[in-house]
């Protein structure tokens, strides 16, 4: 079973978000980067579990510059076999998806796994786009994935509930909570990751369809109005008559 796991780099969840260059660029100063949690905790770990149970390989794919290599090495330390970095600063999801799809077309995988969204741009776009470029079925927001031969049984979140679907390989899936438990790399994994292959591939040509014109921080919150614990009814009164929301 050949599994491709797409990972994105994202700022650590405790990062202070700030912008530079007249609010046109994210300020990376002092920011720690991690593997996007959905990609790491769910897509990667489930991919590894499937490999452990059925044999095969897990390849990591990242679209980004050389500064992403430490993040990619962490995915190798968790247990992936090899990694590919497509050497391009990602600027929009369609461009990233095109690179992933071009690579996946040339190297044929049984499944392409990614996270349901990134915690920086919150797009929920790449998985569906890759599926469209590859003309493969797309299962989004999957919370369980089991394989029997070539047939996957997947639980997915849909509007208002969950459903179980079946699909034969190849397919593209975006992973959500429930699919696996996060793994912490051990010392052996970290040592092994240093010598695992990380191949750098040049991007194919494409044109951007979107660009970020500027960023904005939300306005600061005013002071919190305190209500006495002895009279909680006053809270409802304020919500109804002052905030006018209930």
């Amino acid at each position: 079973m050949k599994i491709l796991v797409c990972i994105s780099k994202a700022p650590d969840t405790t990062s202070k978000i700030a912008f530079t260059d007249n609010n046109t660029a994210f300020d990376k100063n002092g920011v720690q980067f991690i593997i996007n949690p959905y990609d790491e905790w769910y897509a990667l770990v489930r991919g590894l579990e499937l490999k452990e149970a059925n044999g095969g390989s897990v390849t990591i794919l990242n679209v980004g510059g050389a500064d992403n290599d430490p993040t990619i090495r962490k995915a190798l330390a968790i247990g992936a076999d090899d990694a590919v970095r497509i050497n391009m600063e990602p600027t929009d999801a369609l461009g990233v998806a095109k690179q992933i799809a071009d690579y996946a077309k040339e190297n044929t995988f049984d499944m392409v796994l990614c996270g349901k969204e990134t915690i920086d741009y919150n797009g929920s776009q790449v998985g569906g786009m890759v599926a469209a470029f590859l003309d493969q079925p797309f299962i989004s927001n999957a919370s369980k994935l089991d394989m029997a031969g070539n047939t996957a049984t997947v639980e997915r979140d849909i509007q208002g509930g969950k459903e179980i679907v079946q699909v034969d390989t190849p397919f593209v899936l975006s992973a959500a909570k429930g699919m696996a438990e996060a793994r912490i790399p051990n010392m052996r994994g970290i040592m092994a990751a240093r010598t695992k292959p990380l191949n750098v591939v040049e991007p194919s040509a494409f044109e951007n369809t979107t660009e970020i014109a500027s960023y904005e921080l939300p306005p600061a919150k005013g002071a919190c109005k305190m209500v006495s614990a002895d009279n909680p009814a006053e809270l409802l009164n304020l919500l109804r008559n002052e905030a006018k929301i209930i």
Binding site: T13, E117, S124, D157, A229, L236, L239, A243, I246
Partner: protein, 317 residues
């Protein structure tokens, strides 16, 4: 030219988020002078109500292949409707259906897409859409440079506008490919609205001590007509189901009211809820970080405060 809106249905009714998307499309059309076409896949017995929120026309796609949720085929149907109607902008709701279908369509049409819009696009000169990024810690203004543009709208982000038009309904049996995806079982939850679309949310954290204490949280939610949510440790310990987990690595929501009970207000939790219009924190610890993000607060023990709130909320109704 026209604005095309994918109007999602559930249980034979047009979904609430679909009305928001149609109204959003209609507000764009007001500026651009286009007409608004809603595309509905599957059955709904209230298609005429789409006119109320601004649809001029409804395309009802009747192909049986769409009885199950088939994102690829829905994208094919919408693409045909878009081409037939010369659509320049295609609007989705950024709900679980939109998140699945819109990116497929964007790739198939090579259309620039902005997901999770929180405001109407700016259209004089460049076409720019505002969306939340960094899990609600900031906004980005995204410029779309293609002729066909796709936008998905964050649920509960904008007030719906009423237009009271009468929309004509056209049945279409578009030709669709075959899908390898088979739905074998549906587990529809009984909760009425998905958390992302709820206007009022009552949420609780580890301060509640154990799952057996959620009765008062549910009572309060019921009395207010609110949905329930929880912090991540609470769902990790299986005190509550995963779909209630809000935050940076759970569901991001922007209800009109978010009441946080016994939740400390960690940065990862706030990331998923700080776009709520009004935030209430109830916590025994006056130094809890949640009070810095809240509009109203009560320093007190949830086990004393919440039952009193339930009584007061019931009395209010």
């Amino acid at each position: 030219m026209s604005i095309l809106v994918y109007a999602n249905t559930a249980k034979n009714k047009v979904h609430k988020s679909a009305f928001e998307a149609v109204s959003y499309g209609a507000q764009i059309a007001e500026k651009s002078g286009d007409s608004v076409t809603a595309v509905v896949v599957g059955n709904a017995d209230d298609l005429d109500t789409l006119g109320k929120y601004g649809a001029d026309k409804v395309i009802h796609v009747t192909n049986d292949k769409l009885n199950d949720f088939q994102p690829t085929l829905i994208a094919q149907a919408i693409q045909q409707a878009a081409e037939e109607n010369n659509a320049s902008i295609i609007v989705f709701s950024h709900d679980l259906s939109g998140k699945s279908v819109a990116p497929i369509l964007a790739a198939k049409m090579n259309a620039g897409i902005v997901t999770g819009a929180v405001d109407l696009p700016q259209m004089d000169g460049d076409f720019i859409v505002k969306k939340a990024v960094f899990s609600g810690k900031a906004y980005a203004h995204v410029k779309v440079t293609t002729a066909t543009k796709i936008i998905s709208l964050t649920p509960n982000a904008l007030e719906k506008k009423e237009y009271n038009k009468t929309a004509s309904v056209e049945d279409k049996a578009y030709e669709l490919g075959d899908s390898r995806l088979k739905v074998v079982e549906q587990k529809i939850q009984s909760t009425d609205l998905p958390l992302t679309e709820a206007e009022l949310v009552v949420s609780a954290g580890r301060g509640l001590k154990g799952p057996e204490n959620w009765g008062m949280i549910e009572d309060l939610a019921k009395a207010l007509g609110a949905a329930t949510a929880c912090s991540r440790p609470v769902s990790d310990m299986d005190w509550r189901p995963h779909h209630e987990h809000v935050g940076q690595t759970g569901v991001a929501i922007r209800p009109n009211l978010y009441i946080a009970i016994g939740i400390s207000g960690a940065i990862q939790h706030l990331a998923g809820v700080n776009q709520s219009k009004v935030i209430v924190a109830i916590n025994t610890d006056p130094e809890a970080p949640f009070f810095k993000a809240a509009d109203y607060g009560i320093v007190g023990d949830a086990f004393e405060v919440v039952p009193k709130l339930v009584v007061a909320a019931k009395a209010m109704n």
